[in-house]
């Protein structure tokens, strides 16, 4: 009585508290974005910044897919489709909006939307940023609507069949976007004036892709989106809705018997995931200034699924880490650095974890040592024989994927967050970490 009563009271603690609960994630996101954009980005340099932005976008995608594939236990293979819908919507709004408002498709952003070598002389706030943010949010909304439409078949289908339908959806989205008409070029303003507004969504570039988009996505926006989505989805995981998702994953029939509306839970999972994917799509398009549906195909969806699975189905920090790892890995293999410091670090972390649990697993420890030595020897041999490992990076990537599934089928962290696995927090969250509850 007392515990639940108190928590209910505190959750109704007035408007100020609610507002603060809603606002602090945004503040944290902006703060993280500012730190990354103004301090870490300039320090790391242009190339590293681009990789970091790509990492952040992939984190948003992976973390959002965790909601469907991890929490709700549905299997979606169409995440790139939602990304494409959001991305194209945002691109259309920003591109045609810029043309109509400023007669020009070049970015008119503030300091926040410029890379650090172009910051000088920019205002702190600009109309372009507002347009960009609104466009990304509308993109997220459109993707959410699509998520609702795709979520509906999940009422009838389960498992592999749902995976196939989402896959089909992603491919249809791609084909339809490739079938749109060519974009109205910035130097053909008269053509733009003749085209009525409702026809503009038909001019999204077609097979050539949607090009010449103003570049807005910087480390600030990417980091802010990443932080915000991570916080929102982390809160979701431990909310009533998140528990509904988890119950649907564990056993649909049991969940239904406990009064969970299974249908509604599944559709909601799709809608939440699609929204963030749409926003990530908007960020993606305005990073390089081009949206190309060809790149947002089945393979892209698979990449995101791989991130979720490697991270551990349902682990937010795991998915985020896997996203970062898989984005950096191909870049690292272009010019592989020495692996042994990372190997030592992993070894130290794993040893620490096992020491905390008073349970040493020698095969795992020797496995890490052997893997490190094998990789190091391979790198030395490659350097000695002047073999370019960049040619082999995708082969290595595929091999790692297979080995990971063979050796650690639960992904990096399983359903746990990495701090749970490290044993840093002694008190398990009840009801979610099934294993710790049984042990207790």
């Amino acid at each position: 009585m007392t515990d639940t009563h108190q928590s209910r009271v505190s959750s109704q603690a007035g408007l100020g508290r609610t507002l603060w609960n809603a606002l602090w994630p945004v503040l944290v996101a902006v703060l993280c974005g500012l730190v990354m954009h103004l301090a870490i980005g300039p320090w790391a340099g242009g190339y590293a910044s681009t990789v970091m932005v790509a990492c952040a976008i992939n984190v948003v995608l992976a973390v959002s897919l965790t909601v469907v594939n991890g929490f709700a236990g549905q299997f979606s293979l169409g995440h790139a489709g939602f990304m494409a819908i959001g991305g194209y919507t945002a691109a259309g709004i920003v591109y045609y909006g810029s043309l109509l408002m400023w007669g020009d498709a070049s970015p008119s952003g503030s300091v926040l939307s410029a890379s650090f070598d172009e910051v000088a002389g920019r205002p702190w706030l600009a109309a372009g940023d507002a347009l960009f943010v609104v466009a990304c949010l509308v993109g997220g909304l459109m993707a959410a609507i699509a998520g609702y439409v795709v979520g509906l078949p999940s009422l009838r289908l389960r498992g592999d069949y749902l995976a196939i339908v989402t896959l089909g959806f992603g491919e249809i989205v791609r084909v339809l976007l490739q079938g749109t008409k060519g974009q109205i070029q910035p130097w053909k303003m008269s053509e733009l004036a003749e085209t009525p507004g409702w026809r503009l969504p038909l001019h999204l570039g077609g097979p050539q892709g949607f090009n010449l988009l103003p570049v807005y996505t910087t480390l600030f926006w990417a980091t802010a989106a990443m932080t915000l989505s991570a916080i929102v989805i982390y809160r979701l995981k431990y909310s009533a809705l998140g528990r509904e998702f988890l119950s649907v994953r564990e056993d649909e029939i049991a969940a239904q018997a406990m009064g969970v509306n299974v249908t509604r839970a599944k559709v909601r999972a799709f809608v939440v995931a699609a929204t963030f994917a749409g926003i990530a799509g908007g960020l993606y398009g305005h990073l390089t200034g081009t949206m190309n549906a060809t790149e947002l195909d089945f393979k892209r969806s698979i990449e995101i699924v791989i991130m979720v699975v490697l991270g551990g189905m349902g682990s937010i920090s795991g998915a985020a880490m896997a996203a970062v790892l898989l984005t950096i890995l191909p870049e690292l293999l272009r010019d592989p650095p020495a692996i042994w410091p990372a190997g030592l670090l992993v070894l130290a972390i794993v040893t620490f974890t096992q020491w905390r649990r008073r349970r040493f697993s020698w095969p795992v420890l020797t496995g890490i040592i052997v893997a490190t030595i094998v990789f190091e020897v391979g790198r030395r041999v490659a350097i000695a024989h002047a073999v370019d490992l960049a040619d082999y990076r995708l082969v290595i990537y595929a091999l790692l994927l297979i080995l990971m599934m063979l050796l650690r089928p639960d992904g990096l962290f399983g359903v746990h967050e990495f701090w749970d696995v490290l044993g840093l927090r002694r008190v398990p969250r009840p009801g979610i970490d099934g294993r710790s509850e049984v042990e207790a």
């Binding site: 009838r156 196939i164 491919e171 249809i172 084909v175 089945f298 040619d391 082999y392 990537y397």
Partner: protein, 326 residues
Amino acid sequence: MDKFLQTLMDGFTVGSLYALIALGYTMVYGILQFINFAHGDVFALGVHLTIVFAAMLGIEGLATGGPASLPVVVGVLLLTMLACGCVGFLIERLAYRPLRSSPRLNVLITAIGVSLLLQNVGQLPFVFGPYRKATPNLLPDVTLATIGGEQQTQDDGTLEIVGGVKVTLVNVTVVLVALAMMLALQYVIHSTRFGLAMRAVSHDPRTAGLMGINVDLVISLTFMIGSMLAAGAGFLYTLKYTGNVAHPGEATWVLLGLKAFVAAVVGGIGNIRGAVLGGLLIGLTEFFGVGYLSSEYRDAYVFAILIVVLLVRPQGILGRPKIEKV
């Protein structure tokens, strides 16, 4: 009318290719209940091995050399099937068997890993290389019969048929070889002891094992047969599509594999006849869509059919509904 017949013939030819690939998907699903995403890449391997073996037997490229003699053509087909069968065996043995008891999602991800591995190894410069290759000139370009069309007298007095639907040797060969393979498979599954074992394992692996069936062997052989059918489809693909074929890393193969997989699902996955029916249906849908609606949305028709079929009849046209047990 001409257009209709031509579309029908092309759709039927390509549909039988899809059906051959779909058989591999459906056999694996029937036994192991997982989508073997690497199957489309085994098909691509079949295409490229056909080119390599044909070159080894002296038929290179489109331009050089005339059509090959029959033993050479059959030799290329058998070699390709043998090689792909071995690759299929290795894939199952090394990647899938250790995961037999783990969750299906893990096997699925492994299959994706194997698919990526095949694509990227195939692209390496000393394997097939990251460039397009010309298909070998294996069959003469002969028109066997012409349906419809008008006879016109040429300037030099000879008669020539203009228009009409040409039934070419290639189309007939593709359909006949595909049909022969399907009939052979049907025979193996329904009339041999091995087929009986396969059906038993598909029904319940545990009980089949208790009845003295070597489950591992049956699964290995199923993979080999599926891969050999994919190799056969790859061989027929090089006959049908003369010119340049895409290199192993291109999206073409993934998409072809996906369509064949869609065919298996539409027909009712796990069902052999369903796969054939689905393959033909998908081939015809694709070609009639391209011929009569618009060629831009070529891939969308296939996936639209998929979604419609799954929504109306989730188990596929010939599939049996699975009973949920609590």
